[in-house]
Symmetry: D2
Subunit: 384 residues, 4 copies
């Protein structure tokens, strides 16, 4: 009997498009899944560029109008990897068309958009997923398991940063990620969103937040062409930066834990430091995406005098996902978090169960993002 | 010609008393100073205990009434190492008596106390110092020098934690450090005070703060005897914890930098993690007291492809203080920060210049502590 | 005009087969190469197993007789990923058939085998490669570049270990890797071979070696079925371990540098620690495969007081290979070393230049392995 | 009743003299011992210099002729901290005079000297000690305890380096430590001696060794004045370096463990990296003197999936020596290893038990040093 086939239509072909394409190409090579993912169609507005991308990345068909992809009856899953300003419209159309909708984060550029998207997939009853891929690093999945098994006890502290430095140079141009009307927000929606998702996933729901969004460099050279992060030339004309360069906030969780969060693109020397520490009554863990195959774990129940943070190489067959790839000590990389996410999503879709994370997660994440923005304006705590 | 002699009277003989005594014993052995420190008198209320301490630590005389120490004309310097509730009265009397006043931090248990102490030393014109000893770790002094020389450029971020776990066990007794009337505050005054001092010393003055103080465990067994941290037995009776277990806050500095601060005694696995990271336009540094001989330094002006955080062993003869002790790679410890502080204080006193840090620093520190407490109550930002 | 097509026939489908298959699948997705790799045929003796492997890994055809693969005129490249006892025969046949020959390391189970293989590819004039994949980690390639540019100056020391612990349990069964007639040698040929290759690649040719091979556990339960590392069941019958558990040696290089080498499968806690340190007159570097995206670099020409080992994240666009994958700080994994090796091999083959590393490297490596074995028997130094 | 008094006469006042003086000054301040150490007399040939040293370091009397110190009936302990060429004569005289003899390492410049010294203290029946101070770092003492308790199981590997870089510059002058007639040997006796002692102390006696001593820079500028490491000026005249710059060797221990040892003063970037790793059947440990308050420990009996090297901060009250100093996380330094050694020596002397380490250790250490030198000349293994 032939395996179930799932045809994907991918909207967007830049950084996230490349990461998602790789996941679709690799997932059935490493996971024994109930369905086969097919790379059916890739879509972008620039026909030459998207055609080249299709060939490089292995897509069967090319399209320049996303509506045609959504309308195509051969396609089962719409993957939305565009800048944030297009997410809502595509997602809602795709849901109406009965497609599974898998969307990059944050799902909408505004909270109402996110709500409309959630309503749409729930009304249509279609499978939905959001690409909070860092949940799927083996070390992070191990933390989830440890918490569920009570290994950390009562959680007192969640302490996270997501630090980068790619715009610390004042002459770095005004790419689309620095423009509110396209990107929705700056560090806050781009990278705080990730650590907020990890917090919700691992610690639980937020109760209150109090934060501050800040823009260090308020004007930058306008970009010669709208490109991704690393691709734009600076022009001699200046334009307004309309998003935050850094965003920090304090939080209280509903279960009584305290949280600190900080995202910045001005942390000179930090390239992709998505790192958290959790302190519980029975133990603590530390994760850093730049060393994503490792987990530091302190077990408060180790014998006195022999306690300490131990460095677990989360590459053993017993660790989540790790057994699908290579023997212990042979590390995996950033791209594998997407492979793992797609494997989980395919499994859940075939089983008819919710995908984790889904649009509920996407929406709840955005409620937190939004509350922090309100808090930054109101200069005080905001309840969720 | 005989060297100038400085006779010290030390009030208090527990943890800080031991650390200060060691500094007085060692300072002239490693530093060539304009004066000789003499360990003249140690004072405590329990005569047997203070007599034993005097013998162990090498004090010439013992006293049980601090007023007699202050009144003793042979004594030049009054060192106040008692719990916080006694600082103000002793300091003010000592100032009136024309003594140099060296005081543990935070200088007062309340802001008005701190102000009265500052006024007293200024009115009396006496040399004064506060034991913010971590300024004097060679690696921290190196950071100060780097910032003064412009090596870090414009500072964007200061990010500090001071994490311990010694009261995470709910059965840990209600020692004096957990009682507001004696200790003044909990983690906030005990350990946030240290990272606030480092922030002021390295980054500059605070503009605004917004924070939250929290008590996880509100009742504890009453301690059998008032002892220091590690010394009390639990009784079967319960008492109210009246200080904070954790204190976190966001900050804006007057120079435009952003700050995050978190102190906790519930960070299971963290023993004495007094750690900060500074991100500037030209470079970044990371310090952690548990590895206090090291400084991580990222130089943004290193050649492309060869940038990275480098681990400086701040034990070279060219590093501040380090040349007084041992050859490179032969580390010093916690106690040496006090030796360095006393060396600096003696030098400044003999030169008639202000000691760094002094009561102005103590008072300004307390203004920040106080503003965070107000912010915690008012649930919003507070200006300084 | 159509791109040149290169059809691969892969002999072997276990651990190395999986790693090589992935490289063939991915290489043209990330590198812009002068030829397209096609996964033409996979070959193994167990038809059911190899058929399953072909489907999982994406091979077009299946074969159970390697001679048919070698004889197939459609195939351009024979990839030999079998246990070592089959390497020589297949390689020599493949060379005679005019195929490019790409072989796992060590190329032969004995030095005469290796010599015969080298002679065969040279006589046939066919492109040849050996899978010393760790040369192709970006951080290692960066070290190569640094040495070529003189950044390390005169090299004084090369200090390498390759430490694992997967057979430290005395009950671990007698898998094929512990049998001399199949595997050729133990840790020495399996993992010392890797650090010897890195030494030759980075420092230069060996002059003399002096070493010791050791077997801690001389008898083990016979394996239920011959499987790879992690796959065999123990039976109740015992058999002789005929290879070394650990192999250590001292070396002098022709350029005057000194070397220490140690490989062990009894280094409890070490999973895959392939690590080296190089000390040169102008600087030093440290690499560890378990943290393969990082390189520690000490620049002796940094200003006094600011020297230290810096942690380079070798994931920047300017670093070798790294720009083909993801933005800085988004790490790659073990499997990418094979992708990089295949990319280099395709490029060299199309240009008609020698592949690095090739059978000359494989043979020279084996000369060193052999000299250490002789030294271990003769209990003294052996010249190369 | 008055405490027993022990009067020390210290011969030598440079680097080791400073470290020993500090230990004598501090030991009774931190340890409750059965005797009081008194700093009676310091001795050196340069009267002005030794007088200044006495004042700085706190010695009561000064002497320029060591024979007078040895003859002084008030003195109980002769501490020999001179260059190695004077050790034997002083030690033998001191033993004859019935003094306790405490000597820097290596005890003699040659094996016959060491033997004569051992014979002398045994014949005289006087307490004797050798300053292998690194045994006394809390983390090392913890390893000793772990091994004695069986926590590491059967030991398979001991892997040690002692790496420095202070003479890597070819223009560094020919100080006394580079002259065989004064220093005895180079890195080998100076720093290999330390890791050999740690190996004997922790693993057990050596069975066979095979090594190589090497001099990279054979001529250097003659030093203007014989000074310690960091003190000499270079002259324009060149002289022969008569000791080794680097020394490496393989070892087999009598209990079946394997060892690798490497000492170098040409490991650019390494300041004082005295580091070892021990792999046993039940666990492994890693120590590095530059981070001497930490011990990495891998427990093979931790649950599957939760194994990893843990970082123990060996600063807890339950750790050897650490409870004498400061609370957990407040580190101690290099100098404290001497304080701990002296505390142990005083305790043993008063109890009439052998001091650890004593002249037997000094002599056995020298037998290993000597065997490696013979091996280097003979180019093969040497039995002990």
């Amino acid at each position: 009997m032939a395996k179930k086939q799932l045809n994907v239509g991918l909207i967007g072909y830049q950084f996230m498009g490349k990461a998602h394409s790789n996941a679709y190409r690799q997932v059935n090579r490493f996971f024994d899944l109930p369905a086969q993912i097919n790379m059916h169609t890739i879509c972008g507005r620039n026909e030459a560029a998207v055609t080249a991308a299709a060939e490089t990345m292995g897509w069967a068909n090319v399209e320049t109008d996303w509506r045609k992809v959504v309308a195509n009856p051969e396609i089962d899953i719409i993957d939305i990897s565009t800048p944030g300003n297009l997410h809502a419209e595509i997602a809602i159309e795709a849901a109406k068309a009965g497609k599974a909708v898998w969307c990059e984060k944050p799902i909408g550029n505004t909270l109402p958009e996110a709500k409309a998207m959630l309503d749409a997939v729930q009304a249509a009853g279609v499978p939905n997923a959001v690409f909070h891929n860092y949940r799927k690093a083996p070390a992070v999945a191990l933390v989830k398991k440890m918490i569920e098994e009570g290994k950390l006890g009562t959680i007192y502290h969640f302490r996270a940063v997501y630090l980068q430095d790619w715009i610390a140079d004042p002459n770095f141009p005004l790419v689309w990620r620095l423009q509110k009307e396209i990107a929705g927000s700056g560090t806050h929606g781009d990278i705080n969103a990730h650590i907020i998702d990890l917090a919700r996933h691992l610690v639980g729901e937020f109760d209150e937040v109090c934060g501050h969004l800040h823009t260090f460099i308020k004007q930058r050279p306008i970009a010669g062409a709208i490109n991704d992060k690393l691709g734009a030339e600076a022009t001699s004309e200046m334009g307004e930066v309309t998003v935050d360069d850094a965003a920090m906030f304090l939080a209280k969780f509903k279960n009584g834990a305290l949280g600190t969060f900080e995202a910045s693109r001005f942390a000179v020397g930090r390239k992709n430091k998505n790192s958290f520490e959790i302190n519980g009554s029975k133990g603590s863990v530390v994760f850093n995406l730049e060393k994503m195959n490792e987990l530091e774990y302190y077990n408060a129940e180790d014998p006195e005098g022999y306690q300490g943070f131990r460095l677990i190489q989360a590459t053993e067959a017993v660790h989540p996902y790790a057994g699908q790839f290579w023997p212990v000590g042979h590390i995996i990389g950033y791209e594998h978090t997407f492979v793992n996410l797609v494997a989980d999503a395919v499994t859940a879709m075939c089983a008819g169960t919710p995908i984790s994370p889904d649009f509920v997660d996407g929406y709840e994440n955005q409620r937190v993002l939004d509350a922090v923005e309100v808090s930054s304006e109101n200069r005080g705590w905001v309840s969720l």
